[in-house]
């Protein structure tokens, strides 16, 4: 990312372009179990981001030679729909960027899953970005964890992610597309919220030691908020089912 030459990302009173404070998340809403044909699914809206995640499994591995003798095979595919970006239509072919993001998402989710529970099976996570506005990889992780839980996959904890960025020399939580483009740095971080363990940490731009430490603190705070939304989404989805029985026809 090029340092923002001339693009003002902070107003005089220290607010961001969309009126947020530096440590403020965009509005986040998650819904669990949105697809009937998948074993588990979730939909997330984080600001203007709209992402849907479908999970299949545990199921038999195809092609069969990819099966692992002692654990489950986790496969992720992050993909952006052609109309998801504001600029020119994105080609539907997987880009180098999407392949990389698929890999880091898989590695961010893996530590949370009891992979050894179902040897020789696979769990497939399909992530479709419908509309993108910065921080899609971490929003995808947040939604994917909900979809995995919804599929009944055994897990140690959920995983949630947030990006910490640097705009006009200050650290800011949850970068929007424009802040990512014109800011001085972007650091996506994912954690298992209850355990407080980091499962993803990338960065571009320059950060000092102190900034990295502060970024982690800010990320933890934001991730705990996202965790509450994840739990709410899952509980609400199934509490509805449980409550529906009480008022059922007899």
């Amino acid at each position: 990312m090029t340092a923002g030459a001339g693009v003002k990302l902070l107003t005089e009173d220290g607010r961001r372009l969309d009126g947020r404070a530096l440590n403020e998340l965009r509005r986040c809403r998650i819904e669990a179990g949105v697809l009937k044909n998948a074993d588990g699914s979730a939909y997330i809206e984080l600001g203007r981001n709209k992402i849907i995640v479908a999970v299949y499994g545990p199921r038999e591995v195809h092609p069969r030679h990819e099966a692992l003798p002692d654990r489950m095979l986790l496969r992720c595919r992050y993909s952006m729909l052609p109309f998801s970006v504001a600029e020119e239509r994105k080609s539907p072919a997987p880009t180098r960027r999407e392949v990389e993001i698929s890999k880091v998402i898989r590695e961010a989710l893996e530590p949370a899953i009891f992979l050894e529970e179902f040897p020789r099976t696979s769990v497939d996570v399909y992530i479709e970005v419908i509309e993108a506005d910065g921080s899609t990889r971490v929003a995808s992780i947040t939604a994917a964890a909900v979809a995995l839980a919804d599929a009944g996959i055994p897990m140690r904890d959920l995983v949630a992610g947030v990006s910490i960025g640097k705009i006009e020399g200050k650290l800011a939580v949850d970068l929007s597309g424009i802040e990512d483009q014109h800011g001085e740095g972007d650091m996506p971080i994912a954690m298992m919220p209850r355990l407080g363990e980091v499962t993803l940490m990338q960065a571009d731009g320059r950060f000092t030691r102190e900034e990295v430490a502060q970024a982690l603190r800010m990320a933890r705070e934001a991730i705990l908020k996202l965790y509450e939304e994840q739990k709410r989404a899952l509980k609400e989805r199934y509490s509805k089912v449980l409550a529906a029985e009480l008022g059922e026809e007899q």
Binding site: A149, D150, P154, Y238, S239, V241
Partner: protein, 228 residues
């Protein structure tokens, strides 16, 4: 924790001298849910976690309903609604010298439904099935009802109470596969449809406190509907 609450993986379920049943992870005296479940407080200091979704994992001695998907030289490949495809060896069908493959497909064809028992399964090898017991083998007629494997046990009930009750009052024969496949064999299609409706409805809810009571209620509802 209130009873009937939904818990997410990694969520604290109980702390201290509790007895926790179902899939959990313990760290000292703290118990965390492992999968998305409903937590039911059974007695004081006793919690049961009931998973909301679960795939069928074969277990020795389970009665399952399988679908033949391939005929091999000395075995049949059987889909048992599980991530693990089962094998039915010729030796588990015939006692004596094995017939030729050509003849194998004359016994069970691709697409046939089988009532079988799980002979062995250990994750490292595919599950093996047997039909060498009375009442096992090809299912020639009836209606196949597919339900969630996590909920099929309530169609059986305690010591088979629910299954017995259903076959008696509805006049059908039930083959309840642990893998979530139930076969209803009745005297008439109407009869089968009614029983299939009850079985499906019985498995709709994530949690049922008293399956037998629930089954009785559903039979009443079904009978009223069918007579109307």
């Amino acid at each position: 924790m209130s009873s009937g609450q939904v818990v997410v993986p990694g969520e604290l379920v109980a702390e201290g001298s509790y007895e926790v049943h179902g899939p959990f992870v313990a760290s000292g005296k703290r118990y965390y849910a492992k999968v998305l479940s409903v937590a039911v407080v059974e007695k004081t200091k006793q919690v049961r976690l009931i998973p909301l979704k679960r795939v069928y994992i074969p277990s020795e001695g389970d009665l399952v309903v399988g679908k033949v998907i391939d005929v091999g030289p000395t075995f049949w490949l059987v889909d048992i609604n599980s991530p693990y495809t089962a094998l039915l060896l010729v030796s588990e069908v015939f006692p004596k010298p094995a017939p030729q493959q050509r003849e194998l497909s004359e016994i069970f064809r691709v697409g046939d439904l089988l009532a079988a028992k799980v002979l062995s399964f250990d994750f490292a090898h595919d599950p093996l099935l047997t039909v060498k017991e009375p009442k096992l083998g090809k299912v020639a007629r009836g209606l196949l009802v597919e339900v969630a494997p996590a909920r099929v046990s309530r169609v059986i009930g305690k010591r088979g109470q629910v299954a017995d009750y259903l076959s008696e009052t509805l006049g059908v024969e039930l083959i309840v596969g642990r893998n979530g496949r139930v076969i209803v064999i009745g005297k008439s299609p109407d009869n089968e449809a009614l029983a299939a409706y009850v079985v499906t409805r019985l498995c709709e809810k994530p949690y049922v406190e008293d399956p037998l009571e629930e089954a009785k209620k559903l039979v009443e509802v079904a009978k009223r509907r069918w007579s109307a």
